[in-house]
Symmetry: C2
Subunit: 290 residues, 2 copies
Amino acid sequence: MMFADRMLSLCQSKNSRLVVGLDPHWDLIPASFKAGFTDGQVANLISGYLNNVIDVTHDHAVAYKPQIAFFEQFGLSGLTALLDVLDHLHHLQCPVIMDAKRNDIGSTAAAYARTFFGDDLLPPAFPSDALTVNGYLGSDGIKPFLKQPERGIFVLVKTSNPSSGELQDQALAAGNTVAEGMADLLEQWNGDQLGEFGYGNVGAVVGATYPEHMRTLRQRMPHSLFLVPGYGAQGGSAEAVRAAFDGNGLGALINSSRGILFPPSFETSGFEAVREAAVEAKTDINRILA
Amino acid sequence: MMFADRMLSLCQSKNSRLVVGLDPHWDLIPASFKAGFTDGQVANLISGYLNNVIDVTHDHAVAYKPQIAFFEQFGLSGLTALLDVLDHLHHLQCPVIMDAKRNDIGSTAAAYARTFFGDDLLPPAFPSDALTVNGYLGSDGIKPFLKQPERGIFVLVKTSNPSSGELQDQALAAGNTVAEGMADLLEQWNGDQLGEFGYGNVGAVVGATYPEHMRTLRQRMPHSLFLVPGYGAQGGSAEAVRAAFDGNGLGALINSSRGILFPPSFETSGFEAVREAAVEAKTDINRILA
């Protein structure tokens, strides 16, 4: 099944638009959980924590988004933890959106596509259903990721961070912004390769922290699934989240990472607090949509 | 010593502006070399090949640029090979410019900085002296990499690939292009943090395949070291290479990857052919500069 169709079917069948971001910030992993491990068990500790998170949330989330930086920083043991987590997710048939923001010229982009999606030369090293990609290099850096219909990408269009406007909000001579220029490229990259819901496999990352951009970008990219970071811990607005969806309440995946992974009540309720945070986020997003 | 100063001192002491790109394209590794390894020895094969390349070229190159995608695609064994290569480079005191084009919001950029440069929380997982970075997210994604004066970054400004103009050449309302807008950000990021040669630690990636942009970008970023891909195998011009340098014949590092790693005469001359390719590239660049 085409990646976009798979995601949208899951949004319907699970009645959820929630993606859980797996960002194992070392400092935020609860001390009570860390206490069960020795110094040499970084990989076991990280994958243990995240696999527990996945177990209690997968009824409520349509996908998981590992942020690879938080694994890479621990080198091979961190990446071993990532492999454990990916294995667990595949076992539970949960889609993986790898947040790696890769970008390069064609032959190197092909090597990244091989890394996350596999090809006829190699199986995927870090098996993923979708990948975040930076589109600054144009179509050469995009096309190698679009060879398998069941895999998708999310291209950075308008990011959620405070300084995203330094380049992305600059005005182009044509009257639109750089982010809107990127949005127009995404529409071209999807072309007529659209699935049953009318969406293609080239999705867009659009932050919830800039509600004034969300509506315009949704209009400009009617065929891109939106992956929306910035909801929750980063303070994204309900208004922006609402504008990310189409008239059927579909077309956007709302990510929450820290707000679900590290709820304040963990020390008293353990992973039950994580489950509650996921249910609350899912419900909150559905309420905005209603 | 500040990263920019270290690089420019090496350019003078070695009379070379050559960076050797370490892109272990599997298909291009000579069959005669592969014959000495079994199927389970991917890591040994890759690091063995590259360490031989380093041994015969390090008198002629000022730095090495591993392209991490070509290691990541083999998963943990590929990254084990990368660690072996990094270890060899550090032993020979050769600077490492990790070509990973990382980019993310502030807290994640900090995790990437930790991965490649280390910090007070962790030693570097993949120790590097510099990193290529994509600046689409603005200063939040740049500042975390600038905490250690002895480490530098190279931000993508004008890339060497055929489709780089799709976004980078779009005209801004102010009259310049998106790439030039990025160039102006680099000047701000360097600010007054300049070393003895007048260059800062925020360098720029500018491809040799677009000579018409090189001169303008050099004028616009007088304080950025240029890392110039596209020379050699990608067909970059002498004109573009010349315009990358300042009046003292400094300020640019010219990368060659495939042209040095995989010379046609390898099957007859072995690694001696690699040495000759490096000497030839170094001499060719010096001739352009003369």
